[in-house]
């Protein structure tokens, strides 16, 4: 039962928030969340309770984090293939274009 789903707070009334989960709305109790929550915030919901207010910049930070993991393989030819995939060219770059 670890299922936790992130959603966006639409309204707050006392200790109940109305949260939008990618198109659906549900009430979520705020009794155990770690910080005050306001409309516009993102929260992580578990069995009807918000257990975390997700800082708004965190989604971007996480993506950057994962990019870094890929970036650390800069010297590796396989990573070059993989970068090709991400940029959508699908073609591994050859040595004559200056990449490693």
């Amino acid at each position: 039962m670890c299922l936790g789903v992130p959603g966006k707070v639409l309204e707050v009334q006392g200790n109940v928030a109305v949260v939008d989960f990618f198109g659906l709305r549900r009430p979520v109790l705020l009794d155990v969340v770690d910080e005050p929550v306001a409309p516009g915030d993102f929260v992580l919901n578990h069995v009807g309770y918000a257990i975390r207010r997700i800082p708004p910049d965190q989604a971007q930070a996480t993506l950057a984090f994962y990019e870094q993991l890929l970036g650390e393989a800069a010297e590796d030819a396989m990573a070059a293939d993989v970068r090709g995939e991400i940029t959508g060219t699908g073609e591994p770059k050859g040595p004559d274009d200056g990449s490693v």
Binding site: C2, G4, D31, H46, Q58, L69, L70, G88
Partner: protein, 379 residues
């Protein structure tokens, strides 16, 4: 696209291109380790579900074994605990339960069996809903509270919120960090790293794993549940194993901090105390069970009722139970395919062990995905 819509889309880390890139990176770091196979363990049913749902096992490199440990709270709920719930139901008490627990076999019967024979059972989605059931009736309502620490927080919140007098809790809650110790100490264990459950860590903080890493020299990575989270978590874990300087790494910073959710922790430990107890198939786990503190005795079903287990216990145990390998499967020393009952006598409609009942059970998940979660072998 407005920034909040952008953020909403990004909260689901599911870009297949990045996924393939991370899978390639994982293959590279495992190959670089040069000593296949390396085995790591995760202890969360939701991790296994995500792995199965996104078909990630088909992309894990051959040199990496990702083993599911005792992370299914339903599966580790021990037989006597299920018997207590069944006995209460048969005694005429109304039992509210998570849907997953309904069909878990006790000594001879499950709550579903009791229901078929006329007992009053309500399936609820959460503790708050169980309280609603109690508010709408004069009957005694017992909430059969299963789940790990993340779920126990909700039960604690409900008990701190002045529930009605006809409401009580039969706590089968468990606490994960102690069982990681057991697994790490098992003779013959091959586990070189742990992927920790991101949502439990949202509550406890990642600091809770530092003593474990210190004691056992095994790295721990806290990971989220999106496919990119899991792949990135595994890459980091193999990196840490290669590095040889074990520590805790938090790969789920959007939800997990070092200290965790203090508000939730405070409520959790105000209501519950850790005690030793049996986990199904794993025997004794010191401090692995959560029981209600004395201040909440009036809401403790074990103290409110005299639970009569004789009726439940007198029925003869099934011979198949002896062949059930749930315990080994849960501690990662066997896989479902090693069990003779898997897919034959033991299937979701007629489960022998708890691993086949729960939506987070290893056997249930493997069966759901055709018994071949990695699509590499065909029986």
């Amino acid at each position: 696209m407005d920034p909040s819509e952008q953020a909403r889309r990004e909260l689901k880390f599911r870009d297949p291109g990045k996924g393939r890139a991370l899978a390639a990176t994982l293959a590279r770091v495992v190959a670089d380790l040069g000593r296949a196979p390396v085995a790591v363990m995760h202890v969360c049913g939701s991790h296994e579900q995500a792995i199965a749902k996104f078909g990630l096992r088909a992309t894990f490199p051959k040199g990496l074994d990702v083993i599911m440990g005792p992370g299914c709270p339903v599966c580790v709920t021990d037989v006597p605990e299920v018997d207590e719930a069944v006995a209460l139901a048969e005694q005429g008490v109304r039992v509210a339960t998570y849907g997953d627990m309904l069909r878990v076999p006790g000594s001879a019967a499950s709550l579903a069996d009791a229901q078929a024979e006329g007992a009053s059972i309500d399936v609820v989605y959460g503790a708050a809903q169980a309280v609603e059931v109690a508010r709408r009736t004069e009957d005694e309502v017992v909430f059969f509270a299963s789940g790990f620490e993340t779920t126990a927080v909700a039960t604690a919140a409900v008990l701190l919120g002045h529930p009605p007098t006809n409401f009580s809790v039969l706590s089968a809650h468990k606490y994960i960090p102690p069982v990681m110790e057991i697994v790490a100490e098992m003779p013959g264990t091959r586990i070189e790293g742990f992927l920790a459950a991101g949502h439990a860590a949202t509550i406890t903080g990642w600091g809770v794993f530092e003593p474990f890493v210190e004691r056992h020299g095994i790295p721990v990575v806290v990971a989220g549940f999106e496919p990119l989270d899991i792949l990135a978590g595994l890459v980091k874990l193999v990196d840490l194993i290669a590095e040889g300087r074990p520590r805790v790494e938090n790969m789920y910073p959007r939800c997990v901090t070092r200290d965790g959710n203090r508000n939730a922790q405070e409520r959790l430990w105000r209501v519950f105390r850790p005690t030793g107890g049996c986990w199904r198939g794993i025997a004794h786990v010191p401090n692995g069970n959560l029981r209600l503190r004395d201040e909440f005795a009036e809401f403790d079903a074990r103290r409110r009722f005299t639970i009569d287990l004789r009726g439940v216990r007198m029925r003869s145990p099934r011979a198949l139970v002896d062949q059930c390998r749930c315990g080994e499967i849960m501690s990662g020393t066997a896989s479902p395919r090693d069990c003779r009952l898997f897919g034959r006598e033991c299937v979701p409609e007629t489960p022998v062990g708890a691993c086949m009942v729960s939506s987070e059970g290893t056997c249930k998940i493997w069966h759901q995905y055709g018994g071949h979660p990695d699509l590499r072998s065909r029986a």
